[in-house]
């Protein structure tokens, strides 16, 4: 039986921690799109959770909390709902909000220009080596999807590592040349959704490079050029990442 078939074994070793680096990254990425694998991992986490009580306690440095607070300011937050934990009032508020959001989406669909038949596109962003080409790495740093109908980019972290006091900035650049166009700050921790730049025709999406540069934690102005590009990829039709 290969690891592809043995979901239980793979999930168990992921939780136990015995997978090597490539395997662990692959499983971490797969669980986002494979409910069976994600469910198996959660089940193993529940089975083994009592063991976590046996880790001895240890005191971190006293200056750690201010450093944590400093990081919070630049991070967007995830708002999630879990049915089991919500009061009836929150359920009602959530329901009304969902209905309102649905109406807005419907109105937006009616009013928005059509995508002229442009397919949804996907990209995997890999590390740039010195020659300007991407490295031959198995796992992409970021996975990007373009929804042509809603004109939004969805950016999911892959193998990318967070860098202390730095952020990642997504830009577009025409393959034919020209200045990069800023899209927005993206996260190495969580999925982000950013609008496709209004000044760039969707028809050009397949002719654009997606560039990720590393920037100071306090990003510069919208007109300042991006910093050093470290990840790169190209949107193309095909299987979603």
């Amino acid at each position: 039986m290969s690891d592809g078939d043995d979901i239980e074994g793979l999930a168990a070793e992921y939780v136990l921690g015995t997978l090597d680096a490539a395997e662990r990254q692959a499983v971490g990425a797969r669980r986002r799109t494979e409910p069976e694998l994600d469910s198996a991992i959660r089940a193993w986490e529940a089975r083994l959770s009592p063991l976590s009580e046996h880790f001895p306690q240890a005191a971190p440095p006293s200056d750690l909390y201010p450093k944590i607070l400093a990081r919070l300011d630049s991070r967007p937050r995830v708002l999630g709902f879990r049915a089991g934990s919500m009061s009836s009032r929150r359920i009602l508020v959530g329901g009304i909000s969902a209905l309102a959001a649905s109406l807005l989406v419907f109105v937006g669909w009616l009013l928005a220009p059509r995508n002229d038949g442009i397919a949804n596109l996907n990209a995997q962003l890999h590390r740039v080596v010195d020659a300007g080409d991407t490295a031959d790495e198995t796992l992409a740093a970021f996975f990007v999807s373009l929804n042509s109908a809603s004109k939004v980019l969805t950016i999911k972290p892959g193998s990318v590592r967070p860098v202390p006091e730095r952020t990642y900035l997504l830009s577009l650049a025409a393959q034919a040349g020209g200045s990069p166009i800023r899209v927005g700050v993206i996260s190495p921790y969580k999925e982000m959704i950013l609008p496709w730049p209004s000044g760039v025709p969707l028809q050009e999406a397949g002719n654009m490079w997606l560039l990720v540069s590393i920037e100071p934690a306090s990003p510069g102005s919208a007109t300042s050029p991006p910093g050093r590009v470290i990840f790169k990829g190209q949107l193309a039709s095909g299987r979603r990442p």
Binding site: R42, F55, G84
Partner: protein
């Protein structure tokens, strides 16, 4: 539900709404436990410091996702900490046999968040681990508490990696049968 868990749940709910005072309460209540997890797996202090910061940023970002039906708040946060530590541990080069830890006994359990249900589950886990036999139990505990990979376990016990993988898969299957299905 213990009083400590109830307070932590309430604090997490406020954190989800952006309450930094509640976040401080969560930090004060949990940092010793979470740093204990991270520092045990990573065994390099500066790395553990960095990872712990990332853990609390994740807790801040994802507090709204906490579901009391699935896990206690401390278990939820411990899972985040352990996963993040393992992610970071996989970036380091494989350790030599002199650097690999030895684990003779399961560390003690001092849990202010323990409930009667929790203690029963803990006893069940211990009993099932004992059924693995002493050698397989040691391998399992080295992996869980020190983040050893299959290759490092193989070096520690002097066996091929493929053998270690087979042993691990069998031990985990045996553990699952003993503990029962946790799927929801």
């Amino acid at each position: 539900m213990s009083v400590a868990n109830t307070k932590l749940e309430a604090a997490l709910e406020r954190v989800a709404k952006g309450d930094t005072a509640a976040f401080r309460c969560v930090y004060d209540a949990t940092h010793m436990k979470l740093y204990g997890i991270v520092s045990r797996i990573l065994d390099r202090r500066e790395l553990a410091d960095e990872v712990l910061q990332e853990v609390y940023v994740t807790i801040w970002q994802r507090a709204g996702e906490f579901d009391r039906e699935i896990a206690s708040p401390i278990t939820w946060m411990a899972t985040i900490a352990r996963n993040r530590a393992l992610d970071e541990a996989r970036r380091r080069p494989m350790r030599s046999i002199e650097e690999l830890p030895e684990l003779l006994e399961l560390p003690g359990d001092d849990n202010p968040y323990a409930t009667a249900e929790h203690n029963e589950r803990a006893q069940q886990v211990h009993a099932c681990l004992d059924k693995l036999g002493p050698d397989r139990k040691q391998i399992f505990l080295l992996a869980y508490f020190h983040g050893l990979t299959r290759d490092e376990i193989a070096v520690r016990i002097g066996r091929p990696t493929a053998t270690v993988k087979t042993w691990l898969r069998r031990a985990l299957a045996q553990l699952k049968d003993c503990l029962g299905d946790e799927r929801r």
